[in-house]
Amino acid sequence: MIRRSALLVLLLLLSPSRAAGNFMFPDPPPPEEYGNLLIGRTAAANKVKSVSFSHWVHRQKYTCRVCHFELQFNFQANTTEITEAANRAGMFCGACHNGKEVFGHEKPEDCQRCHNDDLRRGVEGFAKLWRLPEAKYGNRIDWGAALEDLKIKPAHQLTIEPAGQIGFSETILLDAEWAMVSGAIFPHGKHTKWLDCNDCHPYIFNIKKKFTEGLRMANIIEGQFCGICHGKVAFPLTDCARCHTDLKTVPVFKEPVSR
């Protein structure tokens, strides 16, 4: 096993710049900032501060599908047509942030709770999560285990219930591109606890593995396919061994190797 990892490192060192470029990961943010983002599609034009949004705050209470499926938030910041009017009409943030469930748009002193341009807003609350199972990367929290162990009980449904549930839990194996790397596992069961079928199918992943074009590690690192979530919010791609289970997590190069 050690020899295989060493060979892989050697291969990475010797591979042309393109391959090295494929494995350039961004500098990881501190755990309390992982999954935090600024939303400010029209902020500058409206002369307001961008909204700081923290995934780790929200995912304790709601699963991904509630916002990214029922409330129609896209998977890329600033591509969803969120407006104050829409929020006030109960769409997007306004589905919960309506002044009843949680603070809404009525009190002027509440504006800066979101509109603050501050990625580190509320990080002091992160310390309270020390009880949750640990992981190596991202928030350094194993959210999947936290959910399974009932350490967190996020709501999976907000509006109208589906007709039934699909208990599809097949684990599929995706072949790796390189001979040195083991295939990646994809457990449906772990994903459906957070997501709806349609969060991924059929537009991100075709329902047939062989018809999903361009599913390559390079594209994933660029933020497509698995990389839409893994690398920004779900555990980051630096945690190689969580999918490529035979691998030891390899060191990550921040600088391309130039010789």
Partner: protein
Amino acid sequence: MRKILGVVLAILLVPTLVGAQAGLKKRRPLPPEYGRVTIGTAYAEQKFPDVQFDHWVHRAKFTCRVCHVDIGFAMKANATGIKTEDIINGYYCGTCHNGKMGIEDRKVFAACAKTYTDEDKQQRCSRCHTGKETGKRKYDFFAFAADMPKERFGNGIGWEQAEEAGKLKPLDYIEGVSFKRKALEIPKDIDIEAKVPGMNEIIFSHKKHSVWNGCESCHPEIFAIKSGTTKYTMMEIFEGKFCGQCHLSVAFPMIDCQRCHTKPVQ
């Protein structure tokens, strides 16, 4: 030699080209937009903008069958080949939009005409020929939807429940176009096994479909009458064939997986 080396190097260094559509998420239409169809005008020289057709306003009054069988609209936009003369002569849109047909307490406005004034162009032509803009619709979607049962996705309206509860009474007969026939007995629901092991089975309800579609919307062209004869895959459905003819753009969308895949497998 050097040239070849250069080409090889260039190939190695060219960054991976990525398809714009691959691996990313599509925008979901808003409830008023769902079922909106853009129909291009047949004659470019007419300089009329495209027609924006909203399914919701029509299905609130009529069954699918009336337009797609009796009147003869194809199931795909621009596949019908509607011409202005056809409409003037009382075919397609002109079947109802002739200024004569009455629905409830009012007359259906006349669509295309041989001659028209500038005022017509403003008032009448622009009701359908709105181009990219949807224009000012006479009927407000939200006012209509407020009173309807709610459903996930699509128009956000539970069309099926609305009809069952009598909130909608879609007409299945248009004088002069439709013919009264004795109703056929509605076949039983069918159970369709999913091809992927572990995936819920599909229950197809003839009863729910025949309210809107009769028999002729689907049989025999889309589906052979004998169950199991027409072979299709979920892939083809996502491409807009078979169930996807309606359940991709007008009837409840296929993102509502659980609505068809209802029967858990043991």
